[in-house]
Assembly symmetry: C2
């Protein structure tokens, strides 16, 4: 699981929680340098256990999304992009959450492929050669891209089953008691009204580190 300055905490921790108990799976957080990595608000720090160099061949790659600044900087970070490309040569699954798909795209991995991303970032998929496709997650060969933030949980549970079997996926969904009841019903951008969309983008902009 790649961490970088300005990643979004739930983008990483959603799949982490779905995957960390799957038999045979060990989730390793990696970043350019091992140590504490700050999330997009600057408030929370999560540890990268290893440096990129220490984990050249992960079996599975998970790239979380981030705030605009963190995502954009990572999309231009040749050291991280080189690592992603090298890692992808050997992975069984290469995956992303939210704007993490734009990072995979910047590494050249999504060319011509159906993919998804954060709702507000859908137009940028075209710029990295991907074809926006609706869905909580989109599987295309060994690449799985999830929609925004909380969609990493759905993708993580799907991946848990792929890495093991459906019974493990079913059990992990219960283990994290994932029977959601969103209190407002506004989580789908295609159904949310314009005021809610505008307000959401403003809250995101105002909270960026």
């Amino acid at each position: 699981m790649l961490l970088y300055d300005g990643f979004t905490a739930l983008d990483a921790v959603g799949p982490y929680e779905a995957l960390c108990r799957v038999p045979g799976v060990r989730v390793i957080t990696v970043a350019k340098r091992a140590g504490l990595i700050r999330t997009d608000t600057g408030e929370l720090g999560i540890a990268a256990a290893k440096s990129l160099r220490q984990v050249p061949r992960p079996d599975v790659l998970v790239v979380p999304g981030g705030g605009e600044r963190g995502t954009t900087a990572t999309m231009a970070d040749t050291r991280i992009l080189d690592w992603i490309r090298q890692a992808d040569r050997h992975t069984a699954w290469t995956t992303s959450v939210c704007t993490g798909s734009l990072i995979l795209g910047a590494a050249g991995l999504l060319h011509g492929l159906p993919a998804t991303t954060y709702w507000a970032s859908r137009p940028y998929l075209k710029e990295v050669g991907a074809v926006y496709t609706p869905g909580r997650f989109v599987e295309s060969g060994k690449i799985i891209t999830a929609a925004g933030v909380s969609a990493g949980i759905d993708m993580g549970l799907h991946l848990a089953a792929r890495l093991s079997d459906e019974e493990v996926g079913r059990a992990m969904e219960l283990a994290i008691e994932y029977a959601p009841e969103p209190p407002f019903g506004t989580g789908n951008a295609d159904l949310a009204d314009a005021e809610t969309r505008t307000r959401a983008l403003k809250l995101l902009a105002d909270s960026s580190a």
Copy 2:
């Protein structure tokens, strides 16, 4: 937000992600000592920004749940329980996720109150004097207890609206794109079959640090 050895990552990061962009809210992670705190699998470390002593009067308290060992140890940790009781005297909201309600209960805060917890831990609510009540979260005066792990997201969004207004709650639900589609439909313990329940408990036991 209280962290302690063996807490469950998503229990904390779910509410964090729902709350961290609410105007006027600053989420502060606290633990007995500031620094890296290990989650229940031992694999992931999240930083506590402050020590308990540095944050004696939070406006809102969020207590995540943890693995059996972490929860049980915290329920017997008089320094943490004293801090929770002191903090609760001044909070506008005192909340928990998953087995965090058992910790609130051990601090004596749930006596006679309706509350919820992790599905497998419901019988223990009685031992701390609480009355198990179904729901993704249960609000009782200023105390809100959420069900297991991912239910902290639902509770966090509700709390975001309580701390601000419903428009902010609606916008935050969109900001984290919380329109879940659980892939297996097994996240509700009352509907899951016995085999899935047994398997989930085994995965949890086998992954405990």
